[in-house]
Amino acid sequence: MACCVAIACVVAAVRAAWAWILGRDPAEEVFPPAATWRSGRVAGMPAPNTSFPTSGPIAETPIGRPLAATVVVYALLIHLLVATGAARIDESMPGGWLARDAVLLGLAVVLMGVASRPMSMPSALVCVGAFWFVLGMVDMHVASGVEIPSLIVDAAFHLSGWWLAVAAAGVLIVERRAETTPLGGSL
């Protein structure tokens, strides 16, 4: 029973977070628009064996929300890394954690307000990956706000964003080449 509750909680949490990032409830249930059918009309599509997937409306989301979510995840992960000893923050920075978190929270709010351009999911993931890479680089190696002593962890941390961006760009290229809409959730 406990695992059922856990699974349900995970599903509910993921669903709520997903809805927030997309800026809409993907499961919002509505009536379909009224259909009409006139006698004598040629039915359906030309013929099943000649059918080719046609483009439908692509689900798009304002880019600000995923970027804001990225900032929040980044802030939480830095807390986790510092708690585990894998990272250190600059103790001399005025305000310490409070200032860091306030700046990051402010950045998230600004991104939500400013970055409203709608993007498809792969495009958004390219942006998120690149943003993660840039955010970490600026925080750690420009502002020196955080230090990760282990070169392996440091590289893995930055490259995770890079890999995400590259993978999403690959999906984007394949989709554009095939001139179809993306797989999954794009209907």
């Binding site: 599903v11 249930e29 009536f31 379909p32 259909a35 009409t36 099943p48 046609t54 585990t84 392996i152």
Partner: protein, 636 residues
């Protein structure tokens, strides 16, 4: 003429053989050996006295996070355990088989590289934890198994006295006369028709979340097709027109790459294969089986266009197409079942679902009837044995999911809503097991003071798999309605309808009706139950419609939504219709088909008194529709 070939039987739970059935036991042995290899590899560095880094990496293999625990990073260890749990969840949900080993082995390597202050006590802990957990799980399983055996024995005492009616060929009047849609029925049918009759590349009104799990568009299209076919079978078998068009649209939307393209990804990350053909593979019964039933229902009631070679072609791009047809779907199911160790075979790579395999069986059964093949009898004994032993608890609960490679299962998929859906679709192929399952689950149902039905309070019964929403009863009640009606238990069917009606809402513009909060999938299942009747699925898939329906006149043309068809039935020569206006009073033109060429037909209830069939057996006439209106077409 009615030919009563029903027979009465008793159905006990099978005598139990062992706590773990044979094929499953083999899978557990494989799981144990796989872990034993990890354990041995993990223990070796310590025994050989290698450096702390190697020891930590080894302990990370023996227990996820064990290396971090040894290396002085307990929070990382907890993180790894959580990550492995999530990776197993994602493996189950989406099928990426590489994910759990990647996280497990990757974290072990990382722990070796990050070793700090060594904690010696962590070594025995890491080596003993999983064997200890496995022993505990086995003990818990034995305790629960013993309780289930006792419960099963109690049930068998009572099952010996219970008579189940196994329905046979229903005869020409199909067991129950063709019913008439009520105004509410027609409003629910309009919801389905509005979904199906939109342009082929549009999916407005469908739930749009993902293409992998239960909210995927394919399941909604399947349910759309089933519910429209059921409406035709039980209410309007002599109406093709836009009802047949709507079914064809649902079938042909399945060929849209956005609907089936998920398989290329699942096959790649689940089987490490790069084939993109959604049919020619050894998994994916969640498409092949479900699609086969959809096409079978259409072909049983209308025409055989999807049995023509290449009629179901999945076009990936200009250069790549996967050419299939209905016989090809049935052959694929048969081939996969024949080769599968459990006979039941997976949906997502590795994960076998009992409910999904009912669709595979139904595809075989209907193909046997429509095309004279013998696919189902070839596998029936193996399938029955698997359902009765590998996928049945001693207390009669069907096990909903099992890992094909490692035998694992869990109770979440044994909830009442899943059992009811399985019983419904199992009724065609294995009616005795289906009815016994309904009998067991029915005992757990309760009623509110107003008489409406309630499923036992559990999360599994309060989730709508069509949109992953928690705390809703719409899906559970739709499943209850389907099963109750199919088993001929009208008392519980009405109680389920009463529950659903608490959520009813109407479109202010079209009058279409649905259940608020329910996904498109749940609403279409509810339609399937609403339009069902005793043994309807079994009659449609196993025995088929009576011959008279196929040779008599039909209403072949009507405008939607001007003309709503509440009843349309033929006895082979005469046609009886009940129509209602869907958009206010109207003078409508109707088209008939299946008439005897050049023959004169008397019309009752039409503007014209008679009509003469053309050389192709068609004719047109007019009708003034202001409310419920009966029309009779009879040969002179």
């Amino acid at each position: 003429m009615t030919v009563l070939t029903d027979h009465v039987t008793t159905v006990e739970l099978p005598s139990t053989r062992s706590a773990i059935p044979s094929v499953t036991a083999g899978r557990f042995r494989r799981l144990g050996l796989t872990y034993a290899f990890f354990w041995a590899a993990g223990a070796l560095p310590g025994f050989l006295g290698l450096s702390d880094g190697w020891v930590a990496a080894g302990l990370g293999l023996a227990l996820p996070g064990g290396g971090f625990l040894y290396g002085g990073h307990p929070v990382w260890a907890l993180g790894v355990i959580a990550a492995v749990a999530v990776s197993i969840f994602v493996w189950w949900a989406l099928g990426p088989v590489v994910l759990p080993p990647l996280v497990w082995i990757g974290s072990a390597v990382a722990s070796g590289l990050m070793v700090g202050q060594v904690h010696g006590w962590a070594a025995p802990l890491a080596l003993c934890t999983i064997p200890a957990i496995a022993a505990c799980v086995y003990i818990v399983h034995r305790v629960r198994y013993a309780a289930q055996v006792r419960r099963g024995a109690e049930l068998n005492e009572r099952l010996r006295e219970v008579e189940f009616v196994i329905t046979g060929p229903p005869g020409d009047d199909v067991r129950v006369p063709v019913a008439e849609h009520s105004e509410e029925d027609l409003a629910h049918l309009r919801y389905a028709l509005d979904l199906a009759l939109q342009p082929m590349d549009r999916f407005d009104g469908f739930t749009r979340i993902d293409q992998f799990r239960e909210a995927a568009t394919r399941y909604q299209l399947n349910a759309l097709g089933y519910s429209l076919s059921m409406s035709q079978f039980t209410r309007t078998p002599a109406f093709t027109g836009y009802l047949a068009v709507a079914q064809r649209n649902a079938i042909e939307k399945m060929l849209d790459r956005r609907v089936w393209g998920y398989w290329a990804l699942e096959n790649a990350w689940g089987n490490l294969r790069f084939g993109r053909d959604p049919i020619a593979n050894s998994d994916n019964i969640m498409l092949t089986g479900f699609y086969g039933v959809m096409v079978a229902m259409y072909e049983s009631l209308n025409d055989d266009r999807y049995s023509r070679p290449g009629a179901l072609t999945f076009q990936w791009d200009d250069a790549t197409a996967f050419v299939h047809d209905y016989p090809g779907l049935a052959t694929a199911v048969h081939r996969s079942m024949t080769a599968a160790p459990f006979t039941l075979y997976p949906c997502e790579p590795n994960w076998i679902y009992t409910v999904c395999n009912t669709f595979g069986m139904n595809t075989l059964l209907s193909h046997d009837r429509l095309h004279g093949s013998g696919l189902f009898p070839d596998l029936e004994a193996r399938l029955r044995d698997s359902y009765e032993h590998e996928f049945l608890r001693p207390d009669g609960r069907i096990i909903g999911v099992r890992s094909e490679n490692y035998g694992m299962s869990w109770n979440f998929w044994s909830g009442s809503a899943v059992q009811l859906t399985t019983a419904y679709w199992l009724h065609a192929a294995l009616p005795d097991i289906a009815q016994r399952t309904w009998w067991i689950i029915r005992e757990t149902l309760a009623r509110r003071p107003d008489g409406s039905a309630v499923l036992p309070r559990s999360l599994a019964n309060r989730v709508d798999p069509g949109n992953y929403r928690l705390g809703t009863e719409v899906y559970g009640m739709a499943a209850t309605l389907m099963a109750a009606r199919e088993m001929g238990d009208e008392e519980w069917a009405e109680a389920a309808v009463q529950s659903l009606e608490r959520h009813a809402e109407s479109s202010p513009t079209t009058g279409a009706r649905r259940y608020a909060g329910g996904s498109a999938l749940a609403n279409l299942w509810a339609n399937l139950g609403r339009f069902g009747r005793h043994s309807a699925v079994r009659d449609l898939l196993v025995f088929g419609p009576p011959e008279a329906w196929r040779r008599g006149p039909v209403l072949a043309e009507a405008d939607y939504p001007d003309v709503l068809v509440a009843r349309a039935v033929t006895d082979g020569s005469r046609l009886d219709l009940v129509l209602r206006p869907g958009n206010g009073p109207v003078r409508a033109r109707l088209g008939l088909g299946g008439l005897v060429p050049d023959r004169t037909y008397d019309l009752r209830g039409a503007v014209e008194p008679t009509v003469v069939a053309s050389s192709d057996g068609t004719a047109k006439f007019h009708v003034e529709l202001g409310g419920r209106h009966e029309i009779a077409v009879s040969p002179r």
